[in-house]
């Protein structure tokens, strides 16, 4: 006689024990420490902090270890932790003009105040596997140090704005929107759009940014500036009434300079596409800046025709925690709805057979 | 001003219990529920009305009330709801005396009818089995509800509110430790 499947509870426990075992891998190989992940996979940590919407290098590294290196799973772990934290308020806007720079480049000027600073970049490396890295314990070259730290330098777009050639942004008033507490509503304001892109999936934002370059809503971008470094975070506690510095975080900022033909109320000028992300994430910041500019099409009176210009399309599909959950939920049992589809299909086909028999008889 | 009396003894579980009372009241309009037992809010606040606001109002919900200074200090401390600049923008309106005209409150929009206000009205008494005849969602056939202490003309104003559906104001009637609700979709016929 048929006996219904039971024992799901035991199966889950056993599966999770097995997961723990596979995480550890071969016990003959020393266990990876969270500090090693944090120090030696800093870009993975940066990505997890960005998509996990939480700046904490240790927790991001722990999440990467726990997720066996699956960065979307790690970002999910960090987000789920983040929601349990109390919220104290919004910080003051970061002053990226006062950034302690590690890297700063402009594609629009050969030289400019502060100069071009390459910093620690993959750019111009030849992508040849370095077998020396496979040998552990080898001494690596140390980088030469400049005599003086890079001074704080003005942003390139600011130089253009002083000349009246770059559209000024409306600083807005009050606290920016927060889609971790309020659901998206359309049309979405730029603050919320930027928040969405800053924590959006890097691959998705990259592909959309790329699509604008290939003619799907493009607007001829120039990299005005990319800067990577540390900025102070300031917060005004209500009981003090003045801002205090609560720490410093690493960020990457990208300002894209784009054409704008002008409208009836505004002369032709450059417009900005903006990207700002946690850690060192140039690809993400640049793609974000492209998509930000594309999403401004409607307010700038441009035609909205391409996917990257479509607010609902971009903002509803950028979140990889939502996306992975929903794509992967398809592996949950669906046999109840499948059964109704089966019965439905059988009924339709039986009716068709009856129909054709009747026709044959006539 | 007198010293503040305490709010919920157990902020988590008491809030849950008060919410379930309101949920039950909204789901079964005209059935009388209990809430706020053990609360001693300053006059003129009644325990049930105080429990409703403690359970639901906070810094995200602008409030208008007519409870006076002591009630204001108590609600500010325990619920933390900001004073609404206008009656129409209030998420919650508490009437310890004569309630404002329903038409003066926010009723939401056709797209976002949920923005309609919740009016909490303290009345003299609430009893099932007699009085108004209520029909609508949540009611199998008819619920009777006898309410003492509402101004004349309330049923007429309610009929106008009902006609706005899905826009409209939702009402929670409170008497002592009792409450009953009138969600906007309910039709009232006078007994």
């Amino acid at each position: 006689m048929y006996v219904a499947v039971k024992g799901g509870e035991r199966a889950i426990s056993a599966a999770h024990a097995w997961l723990d075992e596979t995480r550890r891998g071969d016990p003959a190989v020393p266990e990876l420490t969270v500090a090693q992940v944090e120090q030696q996979m800093p870009l993975a940590v940066d990505r997890v902090m960005a998509e996990g919407s939480c700046h904490d290098r240790f927790l991001a590294a722990l999440a990467i270890k726990q997720a066996k290196g699956d960065l979307i799973e790690a970002a999910f772990l960090l987000r789920a932790y983040r929601t349990t934290l109390p919220r104290f308020g919004a910080s003051a806007p970061l002053e990226t003009g006062a950034m302690r720079l590690r890297r700063r480049i402009s594609a629009t000027y050969k030289d400019l105040p502060g100069g071009q600073v390459l910093g620690p970049t993959f750019d111009y490396t030849h992508r040849l596997l370095d077998f020396a890295l496979a040998a552990e314990g080898t001494e690596r070259a140390t980088a030469p140090e400049a005599d003086a730290p890079v001074p704080a330098v003005p942003r390139v777009t600011e130089l253009l704005a002083r000349e009246g050639l770059m559209q000024r942004e409306d600083p807005g008033d009050g606290e920016p929107g927060d889609l971790t507490r309020e659901p998206l509503a359309f049309p979405a304001a730029r603050d919320v759009r930027l928040q969405n892109l800053a924590r959006g999936d890097e691959g998705f934002v990259l592909a959309l940014g790329y699509s604008t370059q290939r003619g799907y809503g493009g607007n001829h971008p120039f990299v005005g500036e990319i800067r990577v470094g540390h900025v102070a975070v300031e917060f005004t506690p209500p009981e003090l009434g003045f801002p205090i510095e609560i720490g410093e975080i690493a960020v990457t900022e990208c300002q894209m300079v784009n054409q704008f033909k002008g409208s009836r109320t505004e002369p032709p000028q450059f417009t900005r596409g903006y990207g700002l992300v946690f850690g060192h994430g140039e690809r993400r910041a640049m793609a974000m800046a492209l998509v930000d500019r594309a999403l401004r099409s409607a307010e700038l009176g441009e035609d909205v025709t391409a996917p990257a210009q479509d607010q609902e399309f971009v903002l509803y599909h950028s979140d990889n925690i939502e996306a992975t959950g929903f794509v992967e939920h398809l592996k949950l049992p669906h046999y109840v709805d499948f059964q109704s589809e089966l019965e439905n299909l059988r009924t339709i086909r039986a009716a068709l057979v009856r129909e054709s028999l009747r026709e044959a008889a006539e | 001003m007198t010293a503040l009396t305490p709010g919920f003894a157990d902020p988590v579980l008491d809030a849950q219990a008060a919410f379930r009372a309101v949920l039950e009241a909204m789901s079964r309009p005209g059935r009388v529920q209990r809430a706020g037992a053990g609360l001693a809010p300053p006059a003129p606040l009644m325990p049930a009305a105080a429990a409703v606001l403690l359970a639901l109002a906070d810094s995200g919900t602008p409030l208008v009330h007519d409870g006076g200074e002591d009630a204001d200090a108590w609600l500010r401390f325990h619920a933390g709801a900001p004073v609404s600049p206008t009656l129409a923008e209030a998420a919650f309106v508490l009437a310890t005396g004569a309630p404002p005209a329903l038409s003066a409150l926010g009723t939401g929009t056709e797209e976002e009818p949920e923005r309609g206000a919740t009016l909490v009205v303290q009345v003299a008494s609430l009893a099932e089995g007699d009085g108004w005849r209520l029909i609508g969602p949540g009611i199998e056939r008819e619920h009777r509800l006898a309410v003492e202490g509402l101004p004349p003309g309330f049923v007429q104003a309610w009929t106008a509110n009902r006609a706005l559906f899905p826009r409209g104001v939702d009402v929670v009637l409170c008497a002592g430790e009792h409450l009953a609700a009138l969600p906007r979709g309910i039709t009232i016929a006078e007994g």
Binding site: Y2 | M26, P166
Partner: protein, 285 residues
């Protein structure tokens, strides 16, 4: 009640989030069938795996409740077990597999066979709350259509089925009109379950976490499956009897028993089936 998980609030969510959810739920009850956006939180379970239902349950749950969780009608499906475990850990509430003993039933894809009572709440997990989503993907536009109660798109879609196939081909997530005003997705329950929603004695709450919407059906509210006068709504079930309890009324799962075409049918509602088998066993003694 067991002691809830250390370091977390009762039922996991913080009190401010619960208040937000509770306010949303109350407005949802006041406007039957209308989807209300809410600030859904990231839960420690993935989006699409019941986070909406979990948030609704967490907002209403109290120590006096007894919780039942089903997926596909069964208490022992892995995701149902996982969600039940979650609430045992974070709220320490009593759980049950018996429909009659539960005060809150969280469900995915089914409504229990036994009629629910007034002191019960049914919480649905909803993947896609917008019934028009397959016809109009833009939420700004569907919001406008709901405001106008303009559901022509859906009628046309169903009528196309009739024209092409002779009857409506939607077998699950079959759209309903609630209180004669709002078109609503019943979540992907089989159309077989739709009639149970009509004037149900229990409160029905719907949570969509990823899409960040909550909606509700108060008790004894009219819920009509969309149909046409000449093509009335017909709930479908497999025409067999349950191989375990013999039921001819319940919704059945099809089980493949071998690779030679062998199959049998058993109740999808495991509690309903178990009760019937037990009653039969008792009668035989």
């Amino acid at each position: 009640m067991n002691a809830p998980l250390e370091g977390y609030n009762f039922a996991y969510l913080d009190e401010a989030t619960k208040r937000m959810l509770r306010r949303t739920i109350l407005k949802a009850v006041a406007i039957p069938g209308h989807q209300i956006p809410f600030g859904a939180r990231e839960m420690p379970l993935p989006y699409g795996w019941g986070t909406g239902g979990i948030q609704v349950t967490a907002a209403i749950l109290g120590p006096a409740d007894t919780l039942k969780v089903i997926d596909q009608g069964a208490d022992d499906t892995t995701n149902a077990i996982s969600i039940r475990r979650f609430f045992t850990r974070v709220a320490g509430v009593a759980t049950t597999e018996r429909t009659a003993e539960a005060t809150i039933i969280q469900t995915r894809h089914r409504i229990p066979e036994a009629p629910l009572r007034e002191n019960q709440v049914l919480v649905y997990q909803v993947p896609q709350p917008e019934p028009l989503s397959k016809l109009e993907p833009r939420r700004a536009e569907t919001k406008r259509l709901h405001a106008l109660a303009d559901y022509g798109l859906m009628h046309v879609r169903l009528y196309e089925d009739i024209a092409r196939l002779g009857h409506i081909a939607k077998a699950y997530d079959y759209p309903v009109m609630v209180g004669g005003r709002y078109l609503m997705s019943p979540s992907p329950i089989p159309a077989f379950d739709n009639p149970k929603m009509h004037r149900m004695a229990a409160l029905q709450l719907f949570g969509a976490g990823r899409e960040k919407r909550i909606y509700a059906i108060p008790p004894y509210t009219d819920v009509r499956s969309l149909d046409f006068e000449d093509h009335p709504f017909r709930p479908i079930r497999a025409p067999q009897d349950c191989a375990l309890c013999g039921s001819r009324e319940s919704y059945l799962d099809e089980v493949i028993t071998d690779d030679r075409g062998g199959r049998l049918f058993v109740c999808s509602d495991t509690d309903y089936c178990g009760e019937r088998v037990a009653a039969r066993g008792a009668a035989a003694c």
